[in-house]
Amino acid sequence: MNFDFSDDQKQLRDQARKFLAEKCPPKAVRVVLDGKAPYDKELWKGLAEMGFLGVAIPEEFGGAGAGHLELCVIAEEMGRANAPVPFSSTVYLAAEALLIAGNDAQKKKWLPAIASGEAIGTLALFEGKGNPSPKHVKLTAANGVLNGVKKPVADGAIADFAVVAARTGSSGRDNDISLFLVDLKAGGAQVKSLTNLDPTRGQAEIIFKDAKAEPLGAPGEGWSILTQVLDRAAVLCAFEQVGGADRALEMGRDYALDRIAFGRQIGSFQAVKHMLADMYVSATLARSNSYYGAWALSTNAAELPEAAAAARISATQAFQHCAKNNIQVHGGMGFTWEFDCHMYYRRANAMALGLGSLTYWEDQLIDRMRKKNAA
């Protein structure tokens, strides 16, 4: 048994860490945080040159054709660095949807553009409040055009194209939903940036007015494809969350070692030590659940739905836990704009919602465990 990443994959992780430490220090994240740029274009270009954007895209579509375990280790480092780029929208959501459901022409058009950094993609699913559900999809598709409003759409303001969930039936069943590909620069899509918890990753409202769209996957298969895309993205996001949780834990640990109060290192007080020990526990549970998710994702195992939900819940909890207690360990300084703690707090809480909230995934996990037990 080898329930671990291979030496090559670990080497790739080290390489990504080194690259991001150099190209994506907190100072670079702050340029986007402070609203001076919508995302870090230089970094995005660099990620493409390193082959990270297309690591799981097959060679015939311009990628490196490595695989999803490789993508997992890169995701971890993206989370650790809090990278201000549309990586998750483009790589976990748009590219995965194309890989699962795209026809040859669609793959040929968009996947090489993703791998080279020329195209940013996203998924337009939500329409206001609520978790992923076919009944919340009101946007309509008819005669090759879409009409309706999507919000929030992650990285919607900078995206070149979107995978859009649309209503194509009214039976009340999952097969009322179909997916479409929309070139957002081709007219018909009006985009507005929204302020959000984590300014290092934008959110937008997109109004579709007779926007030209082509079907992605078979009509009526939209919800089934989306479910798979969300599961796959849940595992990949979990690695970002694990990377972020680890970084927040390290920041807290380092501060506890450096800061003196009452004549001693604050890390020598049990109240602080125990808080950090509990953060380590959450981060470790999340990492282990995510490894299982990675195994299921990379082997396309029947266990993927359950493993993805478990990784999603565990990693969401760990990142939120580590990010909030990192601020607590830092005390007052942790609550300043100047210290980096809040960037992880913002990212942790934004990521907790992006693919649907904890409540949704808890519900999914229990459904999937029941299904497995019944089988």
Binding site: M1, S6, R264, S268, Q270, S288, I313, T359, E362, D363
Partner: protein
């Protein structure tokens, strides 16, 4: 990344599986499978006798204490083979509980510090379960602070004379031997004046009294020593080096107990899957599902954390520090799980034992659970260990570190 055995591992697994299938006491399998924390497992048999018989049978065929050298009663197996054996032994592994202390703590300490002739004499019957061992460390005045113990050992010719009291000694009432940590010099700081021995529990002057636990059961004992003689050749390590010797034992204690502790989650999930609440099946209730999901990811997180450690073993590496979280997570979790199972039963949750729901399974779990958060290192000690050894945070400031033991205050107030 895979869960597959190597060809050698697969072969070992097949051999172990075949032997277990042919030899295990299958008449108890169902009861052992249904056992959970705090519940006596066999109705119509003495579990000690069944356990001893199974252990002897394993030892005769070379399946006891797999990782020990053959000359001491083991198999000389690799760490990964030991794990594979545990996986294959499954519910019959429950029968090893009474030997955990001896095999997991006393044996390794003897192996590291006893004379060769003692190892050859005492270790094989320890491995085979013919002789049971206990560990005599904790005292009324020294629990988490083990080095604060007060049991005295004084030199008398070639012997040592022991006087004092131990507490929380698992299995002392059926043990044949024990390892004993004593104070040999009270005039030096506490960690420096300790010495370790092993002794025959039938020695004159040893008195074992069971402790009635908060749960009502008695798994632990007080052990009193009145002028008990131990020959010097039964000393383990140097005089005054008992603290270092005990660290060997305690590190083994934490890994041994951590590996065996359960979370209660499979029991709760099974229960909720069939339970009907006023407005429908429990498993369809939103609040129930949310609770279950949160515990599910803790249970799976622990499972896959141990898989990561096993993978390290399989590669011939030492597992990382991740495994230190097991007991800390599982201990408080099983307490919460039991509390919640009773909550779901409403007022009738108060009824325990055979009259209770599922023959009082969760009630027994609830009453036993506080002990799991204390034994083998309290939750707080486990957090200290993680903080200091894994995260590298400073140790506690110890005000008694450099004070002669006999000058340390013994009372908190007046």
């Amino acid at each position: 990344m895979n869960f597959d055995d190597t060809p050698q591992e697969a072969q070992f697994r097949a051999t172990a599986r075949a032997w277990i299938a042919a030899n295990a006491p299958k008449q108890y399998e169902e009861e052992l499978r249904k056992s959970s924390l705090g519940r006596t497992v066999l109705k119509n048999a003495n579990i000690l006798e069944v356990a001893k018989a199974w252990q002897k049978k394993k030892a005769d065929a070379g399946w006891a204490c797999l990782h020990w050298p053959k000359e001491y009663g083991g198999r000389g197996a690799s760490p990964i083979e030991r794990v594979i054996w545990q996986q294959e032994e499954g519910p019959f592994g429950q029968l090893s509980r009474m030997f955990i202390i001896g095999h997991g703590m006393c044996g390794p300490t003897m192996m590291a510090f006893a004379r060769e002739e003692h190892k050859r004499t005492y270790l094989p019957p320890l491995a085979s379960g013919e002789k049971v061992w206990c560990q005599l460390f904790s005292e009324p005045a020294g629990g988490s602070d083990v080095a604060g113990l007060r049991t005295r050992a004084e030199k008398d010719g070639d012997d040592w004379i022991i006087n004092g009291q131990k507490i929380w000694t698992s299995g002392a009432h059926y043990s044949d031997y024990g390892i004993l940590l004593t104070r040999t010099d009270p005039t030096v700081p506490k960690h420096k004046g300790l010495t370790m021995f092993f002794l025959d529990m039938k020695s004159p002057g040893v008195e074992v009294r069971p402790i009635k636990q908060a749960s009502g059961a008695s798994d632990f004992n007080e052990v009193y020593f009145t002028n008990v003689r131990i020959p010097d050749h039964q000393r383990l390590g140097e005089v005054g080096d008992g603290w270092n010797v005990s660290l060997t034992t305690l590190m083994n204690e934490r890994s041994a107990i951590g590996a065996a502790v359960s979370t209660g989650f499979p029991e709760l999930f099974e229960y909720c899957s069939s339970l009907m609440l006023d407005d429908g099946p429990a498993i369809e209730d939103r609040a129930v599902r949310s609770k279950l999901a949160n515990w599910a990811v803790k249970a799976s997180g622990l499972k896959y954390t141990s898989m990561r450690a096993i993978s390290a073993l399989s590669r011939g590496e030492r597992p990382g520090p991740e495994n230190s979280i097991g007991k800390l997570v599982a201990g408080s979790m099983i307490q919460d799980v039991a509390t919640y199972a009773l909550d779901l039963q409403g007022a009738s949750g108060v009824v325990s034992g055979e009259d209770g729901e599922l023959a009082g399974r969760f009630q027994a779990m609830l009453l036993r659970a506080p002990g799991t958060r204390v034994e083998g290192g309290t939750d707080e000690i486990m957090r200290n260990i993680i903080a200091e050894r894994v995260l590298g945070l400073p140790g506690d400031i110890r005000v008694d570190k450099d004070v002669p033991f006999n000058k340390i205050p013994t009372k908190g107030r007046g």
